[in-house]
Amino acid sequence: MNDAMSISTLQSSDSSSIVRELIRKDLYFNRGPLALYVIVGLIGIGLISVGHETTFYVGGLLLITAVIIIGAHLVYANVVQERNQQNLSLIMSLPISYRDYSVAKILANLGFFSVAWLVLLGTAVIVILAREGLPNGLIPFTVILLLELFAAFVLVFAVAMITESEAWTTVIMTLTNICVSLFMYGINKIESIQQYIDGQEAVWSGAALTVIGIEIAVIALLVSITLWAQSRKHDYL
């Protein structure tokens, strides 16, 4: 019994160390582009802080674009291309299960995206708070918008992992990008959010908190669905 337990513990520690190596591998191959996109996002925030209407919109667009590109890059480089370029055979020849592979992919992609996302969100919030020309009422809207981009990334990632199809990944990515402007339009139609955007105080209305709650729940649900769907697969190549 003790032997069986120690073998099981040993294997579990082996597989977690390989998962760690797989995450490090993804970081190694993506650190350059990710840093570049974060810089583009920071430039966008810089333009927002200038205070002119034009630079505000250009900066906002640059920030949204940077977040979308970070997600697209991660999904294509780490999931789609790894399969298309036949690196998956190499990874699956390592002493891991398909579950270990899926966990490594989820941790790497969500982890890298979260770090970049938090840097951009944190900087945006600090800039809004620091600049007098920018109303603090923008903060809830910024959080809601960036969380929508986070959820869209997780959706595209889940589709790439589950369907293993570049075509479906591209279709869903295009649809989520189209939905960003529709989402912004929709949020602006919610009066209890819209009425505070230009205010000097950041107001976390019930509607704003509900939207944020739904976004977080969608992200958690998509991650769970990805893990569940991956665990039901029988053929990995």
Partner: protein, 299 residues
């Protein structure tokens, strides 16, 4: 499973929409080298994926190094070195990066052997993989596997597309591996020359079925082509083990997979003059086996 068996497949089936592997029974003894031969699309790669646990059988049992596959694939793969034609290293990584990556995973990764193989294969550790030729990629992949010194090597078409020099280097290295009697190799190819050189057991597969599996020497001993001359009235006598017979004019050729001296005696008794009893190459045996198997399917 007996500890003597590195690989055992019992009644294994895997079904796709347009292709099926059916009733695959296969065993590879520890310390032996099996050449797995089949035409393109015969089911070699699918069988190897089943062995590696990368796909799950619809029926039957796959056991590798005592582990049930695919359930225990993670544990089994510590001792398996796997390379396939459709496996690629990371194009933006250098060979050195791949070596470091593998050594971070396998504690017993043999860096001294890596240095030897780098020299033997004439590879540059600092070179990015996307600049490698096909031969360099194959040799680099093999280096990463061999330096782990796995108990079992599973190689899916490792010599396909290699120039003669690179092929010779790869074959030589595999021959070195075979010196270790505890290590087993399953080696698929449609290049019978390589298989003949390396293997001590040969398995033929076609249309998703194993059509023959036995010792290489037994194959080469039993298969013969008998050339003979006959008169107008000659009729071919009934003989066991005739895979193919051709009679054109006064010349006849019989291909047999169960040759013994009684066959030539029978032919002579029926008035034929035996001109030659020729041994066959593995390629000729392979083609005859596949043809006979397909003729059997049609009949």
């Amino acid at each position: 499973m007996s500890e003597q068996q590195a690989i055992t497949l019992q009644g294994v089936g895997k079904h796709y929409e347009h292709f099926s592997l059916s009733d695959i029974n296969l065993s590879l003894e520890t310390g032996s080298v099996m050449g797995f031969i089949g035409p393109n699309g015969a089911g070699k790669s699918s069988t190897i994926r089943l062995i590696m646990g990368l796909i799950r059988a619809n029926e039957g049992q796959v056991t590798v190094l005592g582990y049930d596959m695919p359930q225990q694939m993670a544990a089994a793969k510590w001792d398996i070195g796997f390379a396939s034609e459709d496996m690629r290293l990371f194009k933006n990584g250098t060979l050195q990066w791949h070596i470091d990556f593998m050594s971070s995973i396998y504690p017993d990764f043999d860096m001294q052997y890596v240095s030897t193989l780098i020299k033997r294969f004439d590879l540059k550790p600092g070179q990015v993989v996307k600049g490698f030729s096909h031969g360099q990629r194959v040799k680099a992949g093999l280096l990463l596997i061999l330096a782990r010194r796995p108990k079992l090597l599973v190689l899916d078409e490792p010599t396909t597309g290699l120039d003669p020099v690179a092929r010779k280097e790869v074959i030589n290295e595999l021959m070195d591996v075979m010196m270790d009697e505890e290590r087993s190799i399953l080696f698929s190819s449609h290049n019978t020359q390589d298989v003949e050189q390396l293997s001590d057991t040969i398995t033929f597969i076609d249309h998703g079925r194993i059509i023959e599996s036995q010792d290489k020497e037994a194959f080469l001993e039993k298969w013969r082509r008998i050339r003979f001359q006959v008169q107008d009235t000659f009729e071919l006598p009934q003989m066991d083990g005739v895979v193919e017979s051709v009679l054109r004019g006064h010349l006849g050729v019989i291909t047999t997979d169960r040759f013994d001296d009684a066959m030539t005696a029978t032919l002579q008794q029926h008035g034929a003059t035996v001109q030659a009893v020729e041994p066959m190459t593995l390629e000729e045996i392979f083609v005859a086996e596949v043809q006979a198997s397909r003729d059997g399917e049609v009949a």
